[in-house]
Point group: C2
Chain length 332, copies 2
DNA sequence: TCTTTACATGAAAACGATTACATTAAAATA
DNA sequence: TATTTTAATGTAATCGTTTTCATGTAAAGA
């Protein structure tokens, strides 16, 4: 059914070497033979076996996408961005998510040792020692997508969590004239969470507002967690005017608390989020949040990785920080 | 860095054939040699090169996932389900989406001829002649996820669109006592759209309600399309009481129309959707819709495909229909 | 004890491409 | 014209595994 290089060579009356060279557009082959081979290949619908090719060249045009988890729009958009670029360059994307037991480190090792992929996009909330050790081996070109520039020995892309959070809190203080701002952070082993909290605190301090420890609660980035944390905050004697949740999912939890406690947003208290997920624009009132260009993140990661996979020379590692954009809704 | 079978053989003092047999747990190898090989392999951290293995066996444990498009939760959940099963069976998932120009057919052919994947999960709104022709070749085991059982020569999984839509409309008529029900369908080349519309029409007819052609508008499954169609419907002299949108995205469009036309849901008119996407539960009022177990869809597709990839005997093709579940919100 | 059978292992081919090296023919130089 | 250089193509090795076939040894049967 599927034809091989041998058969094509026979049909063309040349050696397989010439076929290979012609198809790879090497200058040593004459125009005429190239033409002949190309025409015949098209006619017989010959497509080089990528497995065989990768096997012998030790290069693969498959990108391994390692993610902590795969559900929700966030990851989908990353995948979408990566896929878009891969398609343009005739690359493929294969993925691996951490499944409960399997750690991110295992996933990377698997990709590095199995010969399937030629490069890795690693998306991770934080780079621990184990991952750091593996990345240092530099077995395969890798691009890290993380909440913070955390590792210098490979290319990286991070969201500007700090400045995003800072800008939002600054906006709340100076434009909205709000001083009593609480924060539900993400899990504090997560770099995005850490940076967002830092932005929140520094914006307060820079505006001469003391940080109130009672108004900072560590959440878990889930709706349920946001609901629990916001309920706690809203029951305080000294209740904050606005709750800044470190992501939109937890902000949605705040909306649920409001409904259950019979409080109105934004009159009784305000809510702000981070991420600008799809659902945020349909919350009533629309959520004030920070838009993160996730799709772009994926695209950039793939673009850099493919460059790296194509070049043997090792120029300096790129570290890109992607800015966020303040979206003002009616929630504060 | 990465060790090969040859080196492992040397270290073990046996031939590479024995290594291969030991690792594949063939009965012809004695317990002692097996043990020795396994221990040494673990010690040296040897992992067979999957590329080489696939190359020689002509089998691949990579599943090709072909989708019309990859964004939105729907596809994410499919991917999630597939990935879950793949992980358990040590399979990988690689994907390919139709990128504007590239057709689904091309994507399938690519997977079938390149030797990378050993099986395909094809998700498509409809099976046209081109796809049908390719699938008939039976080059690789394939599972089709589609809106309708449309092709008998491979395994297939479909959502029970017809009965879902029927149940919803029946509920509107008999429980909610509503007779004037409009429908915004999906694109009519899409099987899901066709089946949902059929369910709508038959439910009306079976309840003795004549179908009003003016109340059926072909939409495009997008928020914007839903908004346009619902605006048209709401401006009719003879305005329907409820708009049943063929998916939640278009139902969201109805909410936007309502806001712009200053109409209240459900008092001025009601809305129902299909899919039960994440955002639906945060609409105000919560959308009445049909929950589709998308994650399950992906899981089942992968499970069947892996079975098929492991067996050479070709038993009968499976055709599974997955039921939907009515979610009643406050939108009607 | 000698032959046969079964079993465990090894040697080598195979998979489909790329590529270093060899070869041939034509063009350029002496 | 003889020799060297260059250009186009062919030959064969190679990648890491699986697998067929051959081989040798131990157990079973005579």
């Amino acid at each position: 059914m599927t034809i091989t290089i041998k058969e094509l060579a026979q049909k063309c009356g040349v050696s397989i070497a010439t076929i290979s060279r012609a198809l790879n557009d090497e200058p040593s082959v004459t125009k005429e033979t190239k033409e002949k081979v190309l025409v015949m290949a098209a006619q017989l619908n010959y497509k080089p076996n990528l497995l065989a090719r990768s096997f012998v060249t030790k290069k693969s045009n498959i990108i391994g996408l390692v993610m902590p988890d795969i559900h929700g729009e966030f990851f989908m958009e990353i995948i979408h961005g990566v896929d878009e670029v891969c398609y343009l360059h005739k690359y493929y994307t294969i993925f691996s998510s951490s499944h409960g037991k399997r750690s991110t480190a295992e996933a990377i090792i698997d990709f590095m040792t199995r010969g399937i992929v030629g490069g890795i996009i690693l998306m991770t909330p934080a780079i621990d020692d184990e991952i750091r050790k593996i990345l240092k081996l530099n077995q395969l070109p890798t691009v890290v997508i993380s909440g913070k520039r955390d590792f210098d020995r490979c290319d990286s892309i991070s969201i500007d969590n700090y400045n995003g959070a800072y800008a939002l809190v600054d906006y709340l203080i100076n434009i909205k004239k709000i001083k009593k701002i609480a924060h539900i952070s993400g899990p504090l082993k997560n770099n995005d969470a850490i940076q967002r909290q830092r932005g929140y605190q520094n914006a307060l301090e820079d505006n001469g507002i003391p940080v109130n420890k009672n108004w900072i609660i560590e959440g878990d980035f889930t709706t349920l967690g946001g609901q629990a944390a916001s309920t706690k905050l809203l029951k305080l004697k000294d209740r904050p005017e606005v709750i800044f949740a470190a992501n939109d999912m937890m902000a949605i939890g705040c909306y649920i608390s409001a409904r259950l406690l019979n409080l109105k947003i934004p009159t009784d208290f305000g809510v702000a989020g981070f991420d600008d997920i799809f659902a945020s624009q349909f919350l009533n009132p629309r959520l004030t949040t920070l838009h993160v260009p996730i799709y772009e993140l994926g695209k950039q990661a793939a673009t850099i990785l493919i460059q790296r996979m194509n070049k043997t020379e090792l120029n300096e590692f790129k570290h890109i920080t992607v800015p966020t954009e303040l979206i003002t809704g009616g929630s504060v």
